[in-house]
Symmetry: C2
């Protein structure tokens, strides 16, 4: 029943893309994340996506607009995911865990696009529209802040915390590991990409949950 609302509200906004366009978007996402926006040529994208070079201009207008399309395709509907967690009737501690877990899962799912954003957002020469991304960041931080404030009012959470920086610790810890994958694979003794992937979604997520809980909870 909920997914119904999601489909009807968001798909029209996001899914004006046909199969071939999505194919291009996915290849672009992979290559932009792996070898950078400037490092990736439209010819490389076209070859990997098995389409003619001109199709990228034909469908998206330009390489920069292709990136903007990718952002819209990936960055939307996070607010909705957040709210499905927030409306649940759970104790603050469990809800906090669920919140962090959702954030890590979400970022992990869209890690490639977020890696691109992390790098391109502060690139002043670029003409990319990051409004959708900034809005998402604002939304998520707003909901976190409200939840933390609520917990503080009810005496469950500590008050001497930099609430506005909690999100940075969650996402930052994730990306520091993800951006240094070869290093952490060696350090943690993970010898396959699957083992690394699994570690990110279990131990790393748990470490981040533990970190945020340590900051917010008084000793049991």
């Amino acid at each position: 029943m909920f997914s119904f609302v999601l489909v009807f509200n968001l798909r029209p906004l996001l899914m004006d893309f046909n199969e071939k366009q999505i194919q291009i978007l996915k290849v672009a996402e992979k290559l932009f994340a792996e070898i950078g926006f400037d490092g990736t040529s439209v010819r490389h994208i076209a070859k990997e996506a098995d389409v003619n070079v001109a199709m990228i201009s034909y469908y998206f207008g330009s390489k920069e607009k292709l990136l903007e399309a990718l952002l819209l395709y990936r960055v939307a509907d996070f607010k909705m995911e957040l709210e499905t967690v927030m409306v649940q009737n759970l104790p603050h501690v469990e809800k906090l865990d669920a919140l962090v877990s959702l954030m890590v899962n979400r970022i992990h799912r869209n890690r490639r696009t977020h890696k691109i954003i992390n790098y391109e957002y502060t690139n002043t020469c670029r003409q990319i529209d990051f409004d959708a991304y900034v809005e998402q960041k604002k939304d998520s931080l707003g909901i976190i802040e409200a939840f933390v404030k609520d917990g503080q009012n009810k005496g469950v959470f500590k008050t001497d915390v930099h609430t506005k920086l909690l999100g940075a610790t969650v996402i930052g810890t994730y990306f520091q590991v993800y951006n240094n994958k070869p290093f952490y694979k060696k350090l943690l003794g993970l010898d396959s990409d699957e083992a690394f992937e699994n570690y990110m979604l279990t131990s790393l997520t748990q470490h981040i949950q533990q970190t945020i809980k340590s900051l917010l909870l008084n000793e049991k």
Copy 2:
């Protein structure tokens, strides 16, 4: 007396660069960090550094080797800084604060180069030698781990911690804020670059110290 050792031990390794070379390195660092390695042309570097384009090949061999030279120029001697903190006779809690503060200050000082590394390290197409960087990472994490283990043996630190991930939380939190500077400037009401800079070295550093202490210390 200590700076003597430093000068005689390290300068020869690092400082085979003349003034003009250092000029090029600093401009390259700025541009690589601001608009990316691929986004920066050697002509742009040459113009900004006020030298002829050919001088970059003449001095460094290639654009990639220029980046390698920059890494060597910036990434060395961290181990030494770490050890000056570790040999101090301080209580574990204070030493932990000093350690985190050193890490943030160090990263902040070399933030541009580290931003470049964060992005280029996992770029598989690149032929850059990151050994110096990886060694530094290993060194710092090794020293942190040993210190934490010592604190745990003495009952000062908790034992249920992902010790190997502490560094990721410290550096990750820093970079998540730094890489989203415009966003956090707005969010935190910092209206100048100086105010942002100041926040990074005070409130943000304090938040990270608090985070690590929350993870490691039992309630007072």
